[in-house]
């Protein structure tokens, strides 16, 4: 409201501004122009006084509309283009089409004799290198937290099934021991492009659901920080933190959809006086979660739910807090503070919570895991994150020597280094030949691979896929029109 007045002080005094401003009524600021006639500040009154320059062929129609006369048209504009008169897609429709996840294909052959994934098979050493089908209930849960990605090739097969890799079993075992001891597993999944990092994360989430854990999953790190959700400063925080209520609502919705049974059994142990609705102690968490209907009222409920889930000594299940696309939350976000300064991603409250768990600053009192997967496809370069991961890999003996910190690089970030100083790295490697073989046998059984799966064929695809990179094998075998 004050903007037009303050800008006026920059004007030179002239005859037009000589009228004292205080006399003129100060109205609410409206845009001087709007495409809708009702909102427009000065809707042009229909008048027949519209003038037409002399000698032109233009006509003035009764409504005051001026119809232009004949105009010269250049040759290249004359072609009558085919104008598509069908309805354009509604907002968001194109994106929804692009991002849709198809988990089944009726044209693919059903694979007989596939074992179903359950809590035992995930930690069973005998099941390493076998294909495991995801049970329907689990599929619904995974879908609710958006753990499936549209880039993965679920749409080629009859039923979603996964290769139980060596690393998946190791990860499941780590989660098992962490939950058993009441510890928090702090883990970052790194690895080459298309090597299956998101799939491993999916397996970790599956393990959590199959063992009745609470899962909080952030499917895309970039959605938190790229300025696409609404945000607001949280009062009484120093330095200021920012809430993302719409995103929190989304997380709550997926939580109550995926963990419905569990939430129904869990009862509140704290009174929550700051909530609008009154929930006496002993109310089920599902009821509290259900209270979140609109983004505006979500934030206190989101906090209350997290407070309840991490209540100590109340028989809470372990929690898996996971995120895909780590490098997006390890940088400055696209959001601005009221002073128009760029907000660090760690100042966003949800991200802050995740980072605190990952760094071990706060602990999950009932045990659980905090797992982040890096992504290589479309992620920003993040020198600090890469450095810390390499350091940790060197500590674990996965590589010989970590790269030294570049002395003149200003892009290192201390907060990121602090956040990643206390985690474990799972460096995902390519699959072994026996794993590749069972995967290819599954492809063949689904009718997607028309060659006999023998040692030779496996070896061919294993090499073509860059020494067993699963995504590249898939690309070379299933996604090229060859067979």
């Amino acid at each position: 409201m004050s903007v037009p007045h303050s800008l006026r002080c920059l004007l030179r005094p002239s005859a037009t501004t000589s009228i004292p401003q205080r006399i003129a009524p100060i109205t609410a600021f409206t845009a001087p122009f709007s495409s809708s006639s009702i909102l427009a500040k000065n809707p042009t009154p229909p008048s027949s006084k519209a003038k037409v320059p002399l000698g032109s062929r233009a006509k003035v129609l009764p409504g005051g509309h001026i119809r232009a006369g004949k105009k010269m048209q250049l040759g290249k504009f004359k072609k009558n283009r085919q104008i598509d008169k069908s309805r354009p897609p509604a907002p968001g429709e194109r994106k929804a089409y692009r991002k849709r996840v198809t988990l089944s294909n009726n044209n693919a052959l059903p694979v007989e004799g596939l074992e179903e994934m359950n809590a035992q098979t995930m930690v069973d050493p005998a099941k390493v290198g076998r294909m495991l089908a995801l049970p329907n209930e689990l599929v619904d849960q995974l879908r609710a937290v958006e753990a499936f990605k549209s880039t993965q090739t679920w749409n080629m097969f009859r039923q979603p099934s996964m290769l139980q890799r060596k690393e998946a079993r190791e990860l499941a075992e780590k989660m098992q021991t962490a939950a058993g001891k009441g510890d928090t597993l702090k883990l970052v999944i790194s690895g080459d492009r298309l090597v299956g990092k998101s799939m491993l994360l999916l397996q970790a989430i599956s393990y959590a659901y199959l063992n009745n854990w609470i899962v909080l999953h952030i499917p895309e790190g970039q959605e938190m920080t790229n300025g696409s959700t609404e945000y607001a400063p949280i009062p009484n925080t120093q330095p200021a933190q920012y809430s993302q209520q719409a995103y929190a609502l989304r997380m709550l919705q997926s939580l109550r959809k995926a963990n419905q049974k569990l939430l129904l059994d869990l009862k509140t142990v704290f009174p929550h006086p700051d909530l609008v609705q009154h929930f006496p102690v002993g109310t089920s968490l599902l009821q509290v979660a259900n209270a979140a209907k609109e983004p505006d009222t979500t934030w206190p409920i989101f906090n209350a739910i997290l407070q309840e889930l991490t209540a100590e000594g109340a028989g809470r299940p372990p929690i898996l807090f996971s995120l895909d696309g780590l490098s997006f939350i390890m940088k400055m976000s696209e959001y601005r503070s009221p002073a128009f300064e760029v907000i660090h991603a760690h100042d966003l409250a949800i991200v802050r919570r995740f980072v605190d768990y990952l760094s071990g600053k706060t602990k999950l009192p009932n045990g659980g895991a905090v797992i982040a997967a890096t992504s290589r496809g479309n992620s920003p370069r993040n020198p600090s994150m890469e450095l810390m991961i390499a350091k940790q890999e060197a500590n674990q003996g996965l590589i010989d020597q970590p790269p030294a910190k570049e002395p003149y690089n200003r892009k290192y970030d201390d907060r990121v280094e602090a956040a990643l100083s206390n985690m474990e790295v799972l460096k995902l490697q390519s699959v072994s030949r026996s794993e590749a073989r069972s995967l290819m046998e599954y492809w063949a059984a689904s009718g997607l691979l028309r060659t006999a799966v023998d040692e030779q064929a496996v070896s061919d695809k294993w090499i073509l896929g860059g020494n067993g990179n699963v995504g590249e094998m898939e690309r070379a075998t299933l996604l090229t029109m060859r067979y």
Binding site: I463, L464, G466, N467, N469, A476
Partner: protein, 299 residues
């Protein structure tokens, strides 16, 4: 001794040349003399016949070659020489055809081009019969003049005498093959193993983004079903991705042949032996590119 048969029966064909000989005798009878050094192919009679020295200079020159006035003097000369040699050495032992070391002979086209005469096909065929018979003379007994006479009919480049360089396998069991395509040069060290491959220290997927290029690079191994038998460590430089991938095909193919020479025909059929000679055609003056001409402009 059955293999060493008498040359007389094989030389029966040479009686056909007697007609030509007779014609040449007639030519010799009509001697003429010209002043010394008038023509390169002519010579005065005095050079040839010292008996006429005192008689002064003859008016007409005598050609050096008796077949000078025939239509194909060079061909006829060599033909006659061959006939004479065949006649002279008819008693030398011949070896069977299948034991003769193969020689790449000029064909009619090549020969015509070499001597610059329009040699008749039928005569050339007959001549070549003589050539082959003479070539059948046992190499240890074959006189040098026969070898010299046959030289005209041999191709300049003798692929059969080419000695192949064999690629050694070093003490670590590696064979180093090199391959080229366009501007790319590839070196591949192939060693018996389990089927792993690194190109410039990267996996195949990292080195080549295109699946087609990866398939080209591994083609030598896949075409011979050897993907799980050898490990490859390769260095490629120069050119683009396609060139690098196809240079690798050749490099791996050659190194593979060092391990298993019997694979050569299979590799040749797969196209992993011959270097593709095509490369960018040079730009020419007056052209916009190699072939493209500037657009026609009126004035």
């Amino acid at each position: 001794m059955a293999s060493l048969q008498s040359g007389s029966s094989a030389l029966r064909g040479c009686c056909q040349v007697t007609q030509t000989l007779k014609r040449l005798h007639r030519l010799r009878a009509a001697r003429i003399t010209v002043p010394v050094g008038t023509a390169r192919h002519m010579t005065s009679l005095s050079d040839q016949d010292p008996a006429t020295d005192g008689m002064g200079i003859h008016a007409r020159a005598v050609p050096v070659s008796p077949s000078y006035f025939s239509r194909q003097p060079r061909f006829n000369d060599s033909y006659l020489l061959l006939a004479q040699l065949a006649e002279r050495y008819r008693k030398l032992p011949l070896i069977p055809k299948d034991q003769v070391q193969p020689v790449a002979w000029k064909n009619l086209e090549n020969f015509r081009q070499a001597v610059g005469e329009h040699v008749k096909a039928t005569e050339f065929v007959k001549c070549m019969e003589l050539v082959k018979v003479l070539n059948q003379i046992h190499p240890s007994l074959r006189p040098k003049e026969v070898d010299d006479a046959l030289l005209v009919f041999k191709k300049a480049v003798q692929p059969y005498s080419n000695i192949e360089k064999t690629i050694p396998i070093d003490k670590f069991g590696r064979a180093l093959g090199t391959g080229r395509r366009k501007q790319s040069v590839a070196r591949a060290w192939v060693v018996e193993g389990t089927g792993e491959m690194l190109v410039n220290g990267k996996t195949l997927a990292d080195a080549f983004g295109r699946v087609h290029d990866r398939e080209s690079a591994t083609w030598a191994l896949r075409a011979t079903s050897r993907t799980d038998k050898y490990n490859v460590w390769a260095l490629v430089e120069g050119g683009g991705t396609t060139g690098q991938a196809e240079a690798l095909t050749l490099a791996i193919g050659k190194a593979l042949m060092a391990h298993e020479p019997a694979l050569k025909p299979a590799l040749r059929r797969a196209g992993c032996v011959t270097r593709d000679p095509r490369k960018v055609e040079r730009k020419k003056p007056g052209h916009v590119k190699a072939r493209k001409m500037p657009a026609w402009v009126k004035r």
